[in-house]
Amino acid sequence: MRTITSSFTTRSELTTHLLDVLGHDLSDSEGLPSPIIGSIPSEEELALHVRPSDYSRTRNFYDGAVTRLSPYIRHGLTKKPAIANLALRDYARSTCEKFLQELAWGEFWKVAADQLPFDLWTDIEPYKTGFEPDDYADELPTDIANARTPNACINHFIKDLTDTGYVHNHARMYLAAYVVHFRRVKWQAGARWFMTHLLDADIASNNLSWQWVASTFSHKPYIFNLDNVDKYCGRQVNCAIEANPELAGSYEALTQRLFRGES
């Protein structure tokens, strides 16, 4: 039994201490801490992040008005009722609808997870891609783990994950679809990867979201194309066709290329 100290002058001193005590237990003993600092957000800080009107208009954009509070919510450092009340205090109910739905997604995943007759790593339904589970690879390819895929935008999102532990929700969907459908890797491998890095990693939300993208918990597979990434992320992320050779094409062409028969 060893004691861990949480009080240090600098973050790097804490990092050194954690690597000393926990280094052998962690998945990335060579890693760096996230720029997102663990804390208890004050009401003033929450108010800066809770903007339901902007959220409803811009949430799908990489620089949209999402709260980025999920790591703090995930660890109970701020509570959903407080955030919902803050939104409803300053905005009309109708303005808050999309924002409140977003808060409720995590609750839905938890309810759905509790109703499953098996664990959260089992396919809930068959893939609707024309492929069987055995057609998908078991392990995450190293070029994905190391952000060295042929696609600049995908590598950008991977670095968000591995360097910060936070990824915009839309980018999470892109990454999940890329892993499962473009590279034909089992969703479980991607879900494990996310669980290891995300500061807001929640087993129910994470694994069921991966299943939703994979189509084992939805009517059809979720895919995207480069035009979609460019529309929502093009101002911040390299979406040039020559830098993203696997992702360009119409949805019809990608469906033909990625799936077998009717999907």
Partner: protein, 136 residues
């Protein structure tokens, strides 16, 4: 008659439970369990976020690396008649803790809940949303 001494064992799902401030605790702890970290790999980023957050709590928390069975046994010997924890939201963590060979029972505290789960089965979000939105 001496009063019972009480430990609150914080879990990653709720590092700042309402019970932390609403009830009296003699000792508040967090445990990095190497066996759980093997089952559920953690990055340095995640571990540092947790430790930094614990450092900001309004009450002192002792953080340990080790097996909960041994740590709780040692603390019980010197400090505790009762060990309580907020029931984890994470079903895998809950099952793991329930499987620990502890030498005394844990006291399970109710987790924070925003929306009460509706009756019935829900596999699609908007059916769920329509069932719960009146709670907000």
């Amino acid at each position: 008659m001496t009063e019972a001494r009480r430990i609150l064992w914080l879990q990653p799902d709720d590092l700042y439970p309402t019970q932390l401030m609403d009830e009296a605790w003699d000792h508040v702890i967090y445990i990095f369990d190497p066996e759980w970290l093997r089952l559920r790999p953690h990055s340095l980023k995640q571990a540092q976020f947790i430790v930094e957050s614990i450092g900001r709590l309004p009450k002192p928390v002792s953080i340990y690396r080790g097996h909960p069975t041994a740590i709780l046994a040692a603390l019980r010997h010197v400090a505790s008649d009762l060990t309580a924890l907020v029931t984890p939201r994470d079903n895998e963590l809950l099952s793991y803790i329930q499987s620990l060979p502890l030498d005394h029972p844990l006291t399970w505290l109710p987790p924070a809940q925003w929306l009460s789960p509706p009756s019935g089965s829900y596999t699609r979000f908007f059916k769920y949303w329509n069932a719960v939105k009146k709670q907000i």
